[in-house]
Amino acid sequence: DQQVKQNSPSLSVQEGRISILNCDYTNSMFDYFLWYKKYPAEGPTFLISISSIKDKNEDGRFTVFLNKSAKHLSLHIVPSQPGDSAVYFCAASDTDSNYQLIWGAGTKLIIKP
C-alpha cells in the first residue's frame, strides 16, 4: 500500500518550458513534504520542502504547491534547463510520529533541447 504516489514514471519537457511533477498521498497525518533530485550513480539531494501550514514554497526556479484537501502536491520548475534532467522523488512525513520519510517511486524528468 503506497502512501506516497508519483503516477508518472517519466516526463519529457522542452527546454525553457515549465515542468510540473505531481505527487499524491493518502495519509492525512502527513504534515511535511520534501522533494529530492537524483542523478544517475549518485544519491538523492534535497531540493525543496513544504510544511502543511503553507500551500506554496518557492526557491528560485522551483516552486512546490500543496493542496491538502486533495492530498496532492506538485513541483514546478520554470524555466526548465538541461541540468534539470534527473529523477525527482517526493517524500512525506508525519513529524509527530517518528523519523521516517515515506518516499514515492520517483519521476524521471527529461529536458529536451
Partner: protein, 115 residues
C-alpha cells in the same frame, strides 16, 4: 568534506553469503540512515541511528543488522543473503536530532545483486 561515502559501489553475492556495507560521514551528523531502493519503488528505511550506540528499526529491517560504535560510521550487515535483497542501498545522514524535516545527505549508493 567528503560528505557521505559508501563502499563498495557494486557487489554480487551468492545466496547464503554475508557481507557488510560500509557507510561513513565526516559532517559530525548525529542521525544516520540506511535505505534500500528496489526497481520502480521509492526508498524504504531499513534502520536508523540517532547517535553512537543507538539504533532502531525502520520499515524493512528483516535480514539486516546495524551497529553504530562511532558518530562517523554506520555499517549495514547482511546475513544469509537472499535474492529479495537485490537492491540499491543508500546511506544518509542528517544533523539535528529529533527533526525529521532536517535535510538528509545521501551517499552514492551500493548496487547489490544476490544470485
Amino acid at each position: 568534506n567528503a560528505g557521505v561515502t559508501q563502499t563498495p559501489k557494486f557487489r554480487i553475492l551468492k545466496i547464503g553469503q554475508s557481507m557488510t556495507l560500509q557507510c561513513a560521514q565526516d559532517m559530525n551528523h548525529n542521525y544516520m540512515y540506511w535505505y534500500r531502493q528496489d526497481p520502480g519503488m521509492g526508498l524504504k528505511l531499513i534502520y536508523y541511528s540517532v547517535g553512537a550506540g543507538i539504533t532502531d528499526k525502520g520499515e524493512v529491517p528483516n535480514g539486516y543488522n546495524v551497529s553504530r560504535s562511532t558518530t562517523e560510521d554506520f555499517p549495514l550487515r547482511l546475513e544469509l543473503a537472499a535474492p529479495s535483497q537485490t537492491s540499491v542501498y543508500f546511506c544518509a545522514s542528517s544533523k539535528r536530532p529529533g527533526l525529521v524535516t532536517d535535510t538528509q545527505y545521501f551517499g552514492p549508493g551500493t548496487r547489490l545483486t544476490v544470485l
